[in-house]
């Protein structure tokens, strides 16, 4: 399969080339022109490929389909650098969220050296999204000039100018453009859907202009945001118009939440990606369950975030679903653990059961506070090679949860991240090995 490089020069690229001088050296070219998406295969709509030449020194790589490392206030939840290092398969790109960093604007302006160094990740490729995927935004606060984000101190209105000022202080490698995605709570009128597209395009053009004038952001890649609610025409318009701008990738926004019917969601996704250039990555936020991830990949999405394992952690659960589509007969029995345990969730009602599982709990996880784990000395998931499973038992994690100890969150986060990253690894393997159908069957069998 031939590799494809960026073929659509935009205003941004020309400026960058001029700024870089005559030479097209990898070292001096900006990230937008340097970055390359090479597809090795497309199977049933799923794209298998690699994003190369990422980051400020242009040496980082991301496998697609893949996910980002979820952070809050610049740190993976519960994890120090050391405990993060103990996780296998940590993604190359770290996701920061503007909402958890916005209060640091002044601090970062004084710091001057960018968010990567500030958070102790000077070597990582950083992507900054607008909102935290785990926290839905209250509706009704955006207008033609501003988008509201919710920081720890409360609501902040971002104009394009303020937004770009923040990005100048952050200096991320990639960032989601300011966009109006307020179409996910309940019924969105046609008018509102149209507004989300108009506004987002307006913000995109404004921000691109501001980026040209910002020396600190010459090397940063803007991600265009596809809006349009549940209206096909608006979605198509948004995709086509956004694709005309010199963005490095596309975020399919407004598909999170329960408002849109599944069928509509998936059809719109497919329609949108059909309009987008093949050589730029497609991102999505707020969709993280394994079955839903596969559905999105089949419709041309490449990059996901990892807030889902974090949410699992926060409800005292461990991801236990199987993604091993190649089971040998013995291993199959062991792997059944995950499925069996998951199947029993919600049916356990002990007399003294005071710990209730979070209603959001999915069939892909086990709730370790359940009494049955009190004296279960096996690992969280048999065969898992994470730090927690290699060193500790279900009984120990159960004890930590019952006694409200901080270590519970640390160990669960380590396990859940690794399990999730391994899942994406298995997706790529399945695509490579032409076993996608087996993987799908396995995953959907475990979805309730």
């Amino acid at each position: 399969m031939t590799c494809r490089t960026l073929s659509r020069p935009g205003k941004r690229d020309a400026h960058a080339r001029a700024a870089a001088g005559a030479s097209q050296d990898v070292d001096t070219a900006c990230q937008l022109t340097r970055m390359k998406l090479s597809l090795s295969k497309v199977v049933s709509g799923c794209r298998l490929g690699t994003l190369t030449n990422l980051g400020k020194n242009g040496v980082q790589t991301m496998e697609l389909p893949g996910c980002l490392l979820y952070t809050k206030t610049g740190s993976p939840p519960h994890l120090t650098h050391d405990t993060l290092q103990a996780i296998k398969g940590v993604p190359a790109i770290v996701q920061l969220t503007l909402s958890t960093l916005v209060e640091l604007h002044e601090v970062l302006e004084e710091y001057k050296e960018g968010i990567g160094k500030f958070i102790g990740m000077p070597e990582s490729v950083l992507y900054c999204s607008l909102h935290d995927p785990g926290s839905p935004c209250p509706p009704g606060y955006n207008n033609n000039k501003t988008v509201s984000i919710w920081g720890y101190g409360g609501r902040m209105e971002m104009t394009a100018s303020k937004f770009m000022s923040m990005q100048r202080a952050l200096q991320p490698d990639w960032f989601q453009c300011l966009s109006d995605g307020d179409t996910i709570s309940g019924e969105t009128s046609r008018k509102r859907a149209k507004k989300s597209v108009d506004r987002s395009l307006f913000f995109l053009d404004e921000c691109l202009q501001l980026q040209e004038k910002s020396p600190e952001l010459q090397d940063s890649v803007m991600v265009g945001v596809i809006e349009g609610g549940d209206m096909l025409e608006e979605r198509l318009r948004s995709a086509r118009e956004t694709a005309k701008r010199p963005v490095g990738g596309f975020l399919l926004d407004g598909f999170q939440g329960q408002a849109m019917a599944k069928e509509t969601k998936l059809k719109l996704m497919a329609s949108v990606t059909a309009e987008l250039p093949e050589d730029k990555p497609r991102l999505i936020h707020g969709i993280g369950k394994p079955d839903e991830v596969l559905e999105c990949i089949e419709r041309g999405v490449d990059v996901f975030e990892s807030s889902f394992p974090y949410q699992v952690t926060e409800r005292g659960c461990a991801l236990s679903f199987s993604y091993d589509y190649n089971p040998d007969p013995e291993a199959a029995v062991i792997k059944q653990n995950g499925i069996q345990d998951a199947g029993k969730n919600g049916t356990e009602k002990g007399i003294n059961e005071t710990s209730k599982a979070d209603p959001e709990i999915t069939s892909f996880e086990i709730f370790l506070k359940e009494k049955r784990y009190r004296d279960d000395f096996g690992p969280l998931v048999h065969g898992c090679t994470c730090y927690c499973c290699q060193n500790h038992s279900r009984a120990y994690v159960h004890h930590l949860l019952v006694t409200n100890e901080l270590l519970a969150g640390v160990l669960l986060m380590m396990h859940n991240f690794q399990h999730y990253f391994s899942f994406f690894h298995s997706i790529r393997d399945a695509l490579r090995d032409d076993r996608l159908d087996q993987l799908k069957k396995l995953i959907f069998r475990q979805a309730l």
């Binding site: 120090t80 002044e106 500030f118 060193n391 120990y396 100890e405 901080l406």
Partner: protein, 398 residues
């Protein structure tokens, strides 16, 4: 090399070096789960976990012995479960040494309705209201199940601010309970039972307790009943009185002491082992320990302070993170607590290591002088009790 100073089935102590002026000494303790160099600070991992840091991180900081609490673990998850897990070492997967206390202190400090009789301590479980009687035998039974390398006797704990006949009663009862604990220890070849010297702030009572307890064949002694709010002037006098009467060849464990100045002074007074929740607790409240005091990282003044907590600290937190970032994290992310916990434990362990090196290299008195100057800045600020205590062992500060 000095010959072994004491050897029991589960503990041997070798005095490696002694300060020529003060009573400070550097020792090597051999325990079932490996050697421990003293003076040593033991972090407290109450419920079978060092709060937010992993066993691997704790080991990586150089910790070779830490504490677990019999009271808490006896309640949750309970000794039967821990037995199934191959003891506390197995349950928390900590392969270094463990010291468990008897449960006595929590009895008095945590539980309101406790009644002490000759039999034991009677109290109500805070989890299910059940009435529980903790006897010396029961405490040792639980600790035998936990499998700690060092166990503490159940003592009749009385607050150091209490005076009158209760103190004497508690002292004598603690001696009787020590004998019952010794008799109840089912694993004397694997687990070391330490006695706890009581007697409050009364020199006569303390001396009596020392006379009696040192006649018992125990591998080590703790100095108890202090560090509970008493005036420092009384505190240090009881510490030094105790070490005067404790055998040279057995470890001296001063319970509940962890503030840097207290550690330095009490090493000078002859103590080898210390424990305290302070460093780990203060970390969770957003404070970092430094040689000149502490930094309340959550305070506004650190918002734009881009230096590490301590430029001379080599811990994982100081190597990578700034005060400003910690300040940003501390409001909302648990990881801030973990980073501060790592630093504070590193601080304590580094302090002890520096103390030990200075004793071995015969420059402990100068170390003390440097320490005090760094911590307090100028002579006028030195706490008078510390000056007096150090002078009593021939260490003069400028």
């Amino acid at each position: 090399m000095a010959a072994p100073s004491s050897r029991g089935p589960a503990l041997s102590l070798r005095v490696v070096a002694e300060c020529g002026l003060s009573k400070a000494r550097a020792c090597e303790l051999r325990l079932p789960h490996g050697p421990v160099l003293s003076p040593v600070f033991m972090p407290v991992g109450t419920q079978g976990t060092m709060k937010g840091i992993t066993a691997r991180q704790l080991e990586g900081l150089g910790c070779r012995i830490c504490l677990g609490n019999t009271y808490h673990l006896g309640m949750r998850p309970g000794p039967e479960l821990i037995k199934q897990a191959n003891g506390l070492h197995g349950f928390m997967n900590w392969q270094q040494n463990l010291l468990t206390d008897s449960g006595g202190f929590q009895m008095v400090s945590l539980v309101e309705l406790s009644e002490v009789t000759e039999e034991g301590v009677r109290f109500q479980s805070p989890y299910n209201g059940e009435e529980i009687l903790l006897t010396p035998e029961k405490s040792i039974e639980i600790q035998n199940t936990l499998g700690s390398d060092i166990m503490m006797q159940l003592d009749d704990v009385v607050s150091s601010t209490v005076t009158g006949p209760r103190v004497e009663e508690a002292m004598y009862r603690s001696i009787r309970w020590l004998d019952r604990c010794i008799a109840a220890n089912s694993k004397p070849n694997e687990q070391n039972l330490f006695a706890i010297i009581q007697g409050g702030l009364d020199p006569a009572l303390r001396t009596k307790c020392l006379e009696e307890m040192t006649q018992r064949d125990v591998p080590g002694f703790a100095i108890g009943g202090l560090s509970g709010g008493e005036a420092k002037d009384h505190f240090w006098r009881m510490v030094t009185l105790s070490t005067d009467h404790l055998p040279r060849g057995k470890p001296r464990y001063l319970m509940g002491v962890g503030y840097a100045t207290d550690l330095v002074v009490c090493v000078a007074l002859g103590c080898d082992m210390f424990d305290c929740v302070f460093p780990t607790r203060t970390a969770r409240f957003g404070s970092a320990l430094v040689p000149w005091g502490s930094l309340p990282v959550k305070n506004k003044q650190f918002a734009k302070d881009f230096r590490p907590i301590d430029e001379n600290c080599d811990c994982p937190t100081c190597r990578r993170y700034s005060r400003a970032f910690l300040h940003a994290l501390v409001r909302s992310e648990t990881v801030a607590m973990h980073l501060l916990t790592v630093h504070n434990i590193a601080y304590q362990l580094n302090l002890m290591r520096s103390i030990r090196e200075s004793i071995v290299e015969q420059r402990f008195p100068q170390f003390v002088r440097d320490f005090m100057r760094t911590m307090y800045g100028s002579r006028e600020r030195y706490p008078p009790w510390a000056v007096e205590a150090l002078a009593s062992v021939n260490i003069t500060l400028e």
